[in-house]
Symmetry: C2
Subunit: 343 residues, 2 copies
């Protein structure tokens, strides 16, 4: 398996990315090769500095441009045809890479991947599936923002893809699926969520109903379904809370000598909580539904996050997740006439 | 001013509610009277136990039924015409109360109030305006769930109502308004948010563009506009995180003797953070747009939260917030033809 890693994307690129790749190779003794995409000279330097100039599992693929984290995806794709994101996607398109891993501009990664790769058989829209640490392990929320203004049948497909992902990557035997809404009853929600509820109820998936915002972290459902607009806002709000809280705690601890001592004593506990709430432990979020593997990492990914993302990319291939997605799409498609008649 | 307080609504009712009312009366030396709505005998007992049997500012209004926190609002309103929520709303309708305060079933409070009170001149849909503690003071998010499937002009009106509330209750001179979306550029968002952006841009409000989920807590905007579906999910997700975090921290602190000592030393700091993140400090969220005052409190409201809610109800009256809302509705209405021509 060949994994193209966008070495220029992310707040700490390229160093953090290269270090992550090296950690992955050393830790997993893998049967995969890495195509490191980016500025040839810089990447060769970083490899050399880290004693990996001749690492046989890594091949550098030159890309002369970089898409900025805040650039408009559409414009950047048109103007920067030789960006590390565009080159990575092209490698996947041409069959030279089986997977892409990027911590770059999410919108650009999604756009480039959707543009260059075909969709899996039956998939109408791909979706970003973000792992969420919960009290009971890991839940998956999708769509985390690959689409806006989705339709009920799109959300049904997201549920199918999310169930496959939850089963093969997080080991949930019969993953529970819920719709994110404003009340648990079937009658609660907006038009989209209520129609999606109806479809899921009749589907072969393990649907358990609606959950509310407060249950996103509770582990009540293994797969949480939302429109990409809602999913993206909720995930970013949680991220914002996490960092606000960290800042507040830091400044409270600095307040006086007693609080500083307490901070030191409590350091392991705080570290452990922070780790539980840390998305990066799960190595990024796959864009499910494309005929290939695409892992989108957080912009501020550490080497560890990149290492885990490479691992997830490999696992998605190993467990043939895409094949299972096509199977579930066929099942959902087969009952489509019955589903629509119900409404 | 007469304030009807639903004494039976909320997880700790009626004790917590009555104590909150007593605190309000003692603390504010008010020029308001309280109509305490609920079970006559129980309420008289609680007042007596607290040495307030003859408090001249409190009058008990009997209501024989209670709407459960998980009951369906529609059904409960039909079946329990003598519930403390229904009676409170009727008092407002008949002009016997100028304001309602309730920590009961939010859906039922909203439904009863919308059913019994008229809307302010020009208002198409009322909205729940929830105060959010931020790094820069208090922001307001609306709609927090009074509506689903709103239209752009509804959201424009929410922005107008929120601006008035932010100005008169939180003292922001020229409150900034932002749309909650998935990117800062005008082109980012779903159909509803993009159309709302266009309307706000042409409005007399102090519109600063889109903000993302991570900025809900940052204080970037004084007034944050969202559809009630999105607003409700985000607020509940934040609440869920808050309580998950508290639980995690508690169990980490219990782990061993060192962490217990640290927990003690850090107690004031943790308390102070918790207070900053505590919605109850702000005394509930008004349902803006109805011809009256309705404050919706959290189900788990403490006496302090109820006290603050009574204070906010009084302040909304004192500062003639409803009159200012009608003025801004008129301004928005006047430019409506121009706004729609832009689209």
């Amino acid at each position: 398996m060949k994994i193209a890693v966008d070495a220029m994307g992310g707040d700490y690129a390229p160093e953090s990315i290269v270090l992550g790749v090296l950690e992955a190779i050393r830790e997993f003794k893998p049967n995969f090769d890495i195509l490191l995409v980016g500025d040839e000279t810089r990447l060769a330097d970083i490899l050399a500095v880290n004693g990996a100039a001749n690492e046989p599992r890594i091949k550098i693929i030159h890309a002369s441009q970089v898409v900025g984290m805040d650039e408009s995806p559409g414009i950047s794709l048109k103007k920067k045809r030789n960006s590390s994101i565009a080159v990575s996607a092209s490698l996947a398109k041409d069959g030279e890479a089986d997977a892409i891993v990027s911590a770059g501009n999410t919108g650009a990664v999604v756009a480039a991947t959707k543009l260059r790769l075909r969709f899996l058989r039956g998939v109408i829209r791909p979706a970003i599936a973000t792992p969420i640490p919960s009290r009971k392990g890991v839940s998956v929320l999708l769509d985390a923002g690959a689409n806006v203004d989705s339709k009920p049948y799109n959300l049904l497909q997201f549920a199918g893809m999310g169930s496959v992902y939850s089963k093969y990557i997080f080991g949930k035997e019969n993953p529970t699926v819920a719709v994110l809404s404003i009340g648990e009853e079937e009658s609660k929600g907006n038009e989209l969520s209520k129609e999606t509820f109806k479809l899921l109820k009749k589907s072969p998936l393990h649907f358990i109903g609606n959950i509310e915002g407060r249950d996103v972290f509770s582990g009540k459902a293994d797969v949480i379904i939302a429109d990409g607009f809602v999913g993206n806002i909720v995930l970013k709000a949680l991220e914002g809370t996490h960092s606000t809280f960290k800042d507040l705690l830091k400044s409270e601890i600095q307040r006086n000598i007693l609080s500083k001592i307490a901070g030191l004593l409590l350091y392991p506990a705080l570290k452990s909580i922070s780790k539980k709430a840390d998305y990066e432990e799960y190595g990024g979020a796959p864009l499910l539904g494309v005929d290939g593997i695409c892992i989108i990492c957080h912009g501020s990914s550490s080497p560890k996050a990149i290492k885990n993302a490479v691992k997830v990319a490999h696992k998605l291939g190993e467990y043939k997740v895409n094949q299972h997605i096509e199977e579930i799409m066929e099942q959902l498609e087969a009952i489509k006439p019955a589903l629509c008649a119900v409404e």
